[in-house]
């Protein structure tokens, strides 16, 4: 049965997902997932991630490799390159098959994607003027507050109040955060403030592409419950999060890979 790999060459991490499917429409079997720091050499990171995802199967058994993400063109052993927006929509729709919107908060960019039935991109919008409202925003704050990134989401859940961050610059926001700290605001409240202001920025993007139906939240930041809660509260929508939310683009790539493969033979 056709065996394909979707490889998401992100700026921070490279994620690989291997899947198999007898025929279009029939059940998809996910064989494995793998993850590696992207670094400078895309091929190297991809091979590493793919190695894990193949879980013993030989790379030569793969019938098709679909690359997506920031470094998709630097992946030498790809069959096709697809943008992470297209694959995000496809992957998200596969996991939560309702038309609606997808929110992808990566380390540098935040993207809102309106998805049509069968997972096609309708419209999309991304913040690419500056890193305001990106995952980096949180990473830097966590670093400053000396909180491990994994705990950020949990902590902000325990906040009593929210202290919004007004600065649009991820770096200048730090001095605001410092001011909060030195005026005795609790770390929890600050983190919640950050999640809230990120949710507001994301909300603005989502409204521009049209937020009707459910919201599927993907990307590493989706692991942070605090962020999920902020989105639910600020936008009052149903928010779906897949437990392997950072593999959604890889999954979408694999799905489209299978389609191309099918259309070939």
């Amino acid at each position: 049965m056709p065996l394909v790999a979707g490889i998401d060459c992100g700026s921070g991490f490279t994620k690989a997902l291997v899947a198999a499917q007898d025929s279009p429409g029939s059940e998809l079997r996910i064989m494995g997932r793998g993850r590696a720091r992207s670094g400078i050499n895309v091929d190297q990171a991809a091979s590493e991630a793919l190695e894990q995802a193949l879980a013993g199967t030989a790379k030569s058994d793969l019938n098709y490799i679909a690359a997506t993400g920031f470094g998709r063109y630097n992946l030498s052993f790809r069959d096709i390159a697809i943008t992470e927006i297209t694959t995000a929509a496809r992957g998200a729709y596969f996991l939560f098959p309702h038309p609606g919107a997808v929110l992808d908060i990566g380390s540098q960019t935040t993207r809102a994607i309106a998805v049509k039935e069968n997972g096609r991109v309708n419209t999309f919008k991304s913040n690419d003027k500056c890193a305001a409202g990106s995952g980096m925003f949180i990473a830097r704050a966590a670093k400053y507050l000396e909180v491990p990134l994994e705990q950020v989401g949990e902590l902000s859940l325990h906040a009593a109040h929210s202290h919004p961050i007004s600065s649009v610059c991820a770096v200048l926001a730090e001095s605001e955060i410092i001011n909060h700290v030195s005026s005795g605001v609790s770390v929890e409240d600050i983190l919640r403030g950050i999640h809230d202001s990120l949710a507001d920025r994301a909300g603005a993007l989502l409204k521009r592409v049209g937020l009707n139906g459910e919201l599927t939240f993907i990307g590493g930041v989706a692991h942070q419950q605090g962020m999920v809660r902020a989105l639910k509260q600020r936008l009052n929508v149903k928010v779906n999060v897949a437990e392997d939310c950072e593999y959604v683009c890889a999954l979408g790539a694999a799905l489209l890979g299978l389609r191309r493969l099918a259309s070939r033979n």
Binding site: F70, Q108, C130, A131, V168, C169, A170, V171, S182
Partner: protein, 279 residues
Amino acid sequence: MRIAAGVDVGSTQTKAVLVGANGDGIQVLARSLIDTGANVRKAAEKAFDECCQAAVIAQADVGFVVGTGYGRYNISFGHTQMTEISCHARGAHFLCPGTRTVIDMGGQDAKAIAVGPSGEVLDFVMNDKCAAGTGRFLANAAEVMGLGLDDIGPLSLRATRPVKIATVCTVFVESDILSYLSQGKRPEDIMEGVHLAIAKRTMSLARRVNIEPLVTMTGGVARNVGMVRALETVLGQKIIVTPDAQFMGAVGAALFSLEKLGESFESSVWRDHAVSSGD
């Protein structure tokens, strides 16, 4: 001997300086430097304390303390505050006599100050709303390249074909650098590219004030020889850097403190505002 202090609470580092004045003039007695971290108030106290210890002087003997820097209002023991703009001008006027232009590059600010013959501020410009082209931009670039902040300067001096940096966003510069690295560009050429990008941006802003020699560079970034050279290239004239460049704001603040102690006509200069702003 009259002893006064200046404390400069910057976004990244906090600096304290003690100056003393007696018959044979004014000299810097001691300086201290610590990371500001999350607790600004503590940082100020610690820096001041360390400074006094270094000079072996009891805090009680310090006649007056002026706070400056963005955290100046968090200094519990400060008698009054002044903006870092006034302080950098005053400090440069004292340490580099004849200074007519100050280019200050700190953690989050880049500013240019036109200085008058008596160390007064004639005119100034500052960066706005975004940390593009500041010390943080450099620190970030260095981090991505896996280099220490002190290595990037000397390294970039060896550049032969500097790359072109598109973004000025401190966060986005990462992907620029990564893609250059993956294209196999040499680290020195990339860093030089970063320095030139910042230099051009900074000078384009700085040209709003009259840039006249002597040009003195202050702030932490002044320690970066690569940045200084890039600025000199873009500016087309020599830039003076003293070992105390980083302490310039604190030195200026300390000098203002001293004026308040002394009998010079300026002793009352700042009182109105100090009172009126009720700190």
